[in-house]
Symmetry: D2
Subunit: 153 residues, 4 copies
DNA sequence: TTTT
DNA sequence: TTTT
């Protein structure tokens, strides 16, 4: 035993729409590719962008949030942990893939008009009284069982 | 460009002594393998330990700290960012390796008597010979130029 | 002495325009009031919002960023540390005020057209008048000396 | 509503034994005073220690951990959120107190001999085979209901 | 592959 | 005092 902390905090944009798989037993996984870009000036004073791509894995309630509210370009804050998957490929080589298992997600896009869903702009009234998934993103959601109650309304 | 945050926070123990290389131009790199262990009870009530290994990369002042004060078993707090190195191997395959570039390091071992180590690793010698309580290492060091002043005493 | 970590990570919106003071010797301070809102359902299933207000203190380069780019409503990510100011008030009572000393700031608003503001606050003027793609703000800025170079263009 | 992140990460030492209160309905609260010390050299090259004291509040399972395993001097990692309590004092003045509501706790002391309890040194073997509360701290515990199962053994 |  |  050792105790320990394994925590990742990212703010970035999705490079693609989430890939969501519904598994047996009501399990859901979403895979999300997230870019974090660092911007700095090099010695010559030129601005340089440096982008790191992160493979996120979301389960159950968080996966449903991803499925329903995230898409290519969405900006999110996530908290999670680093997790390395290991396996052997067809040639018998040991392979490893590092992923971020997401434990908390906050959407950072403005929601003034349905986040790119073309129609259905919804007033705040509508948000409180009459939410529907297409209109109302989940601002901050933690990992947990796959109840529909994980959806934020 | 996009702005973004790419932050990792780890608390764990070194699996091995740091590997330190002195490069030309006073540059120093240390590679450190850090274990973070998560402990939980499975459904049958048995305690299960789950260890994740992280490849840390430290430069310059932080690398010297690693060289002089860290060894197998040391417990540390680090803050850094995820960074993927990509290259082609001899067979022409694209390879990727995820590392944590360390930006801040705090030593968490008690320092009362040589961090508990009975024997005489050379780093420990230096550690034990020189310091008096008032001079003991400031266990929290940030990334920066490789001055000797990065050493905490 | 003990080593230690004192880190705060916040994502929220400014409740007011920043208050900026230019001090002697080129020092600049900005005070910013930041709301973080937590949203949950109570037992009766009603959505409840819980807002915490944080007093941020930014110095020099970060203060200039605040002065030039932030205003009431801006959404930001900040990293900093907790810091308690203590003093005696006029009645001789000991008073304490907790502030967040900001060390890193990332702007999270979309920047497509002047950050959504229709009118002409002077900071926004500067923001709108000047920029070409190469000059756009680098939304992620760390604490450091008060050079104009801390401004992201 | 707004989404938002309010996160605090601290590593430090208890200034006093925890103060624990058992409330009706099986609720338990622990108040803990935690010091985080920052160490740096001033312009004259003298080492300066700067200590910040944090008022932590732990509930239920975490409070029991505090009650059973923490004491003056213990080193811990905590994760939590900032939370301001407001009230009126006897003179009718508005008063505010900032506290850290702890959501995660990791004990960082070496466990070689009962964390300062003088006897009962326990090998790792003992840890795996035969743990008893006095010997075996809780390495990493998250906030949750007050089951005895929150105790780590 | 994102974002600006 | 923000935000939705």
């Amino acid at each position: 035993m050792a105790g320990g902390v394994n925590k990742v905090i990212l703010v970035g944009n999705l490079g693609q729409d989430p890939e969501v798989r519904h598994l047996e037993g009501d399990k859901v996984v979403a895979n999300v590719s997230l870019a974090t870009t660092e911007s700095y000036k090099d010695r010559s004073g030129n601005r340089v962008d440096n982008t790191e791509w992160h493979d996120l894995e979301l389960w159950d309630g968080l996966a449903k949030i991803a499925e329903n509210y995230l898409k290519k370009g969405s900006k999110i804050y996530v908290e999670g942990k680093i997790k390395t998957d290991s396996w052997q490929d067809e040639q018998g080589n040991n392979r490893r893939k590092v992923r971020i298992r997401v434990q908390n997600l906050t959407m950072l896009d403005a929601r003034t008009d349905g986040q790119g869903s073309p129609s259905n702009s919804s007033s705040n009234q509508a948000y409180n009284n009459n939410p529907s998934p297409q209109q109302m993103p989940a601002p901050n959601v933690a990992e947990g069982p796959a109840d529909d109650d994980d959806l934020p309304f």
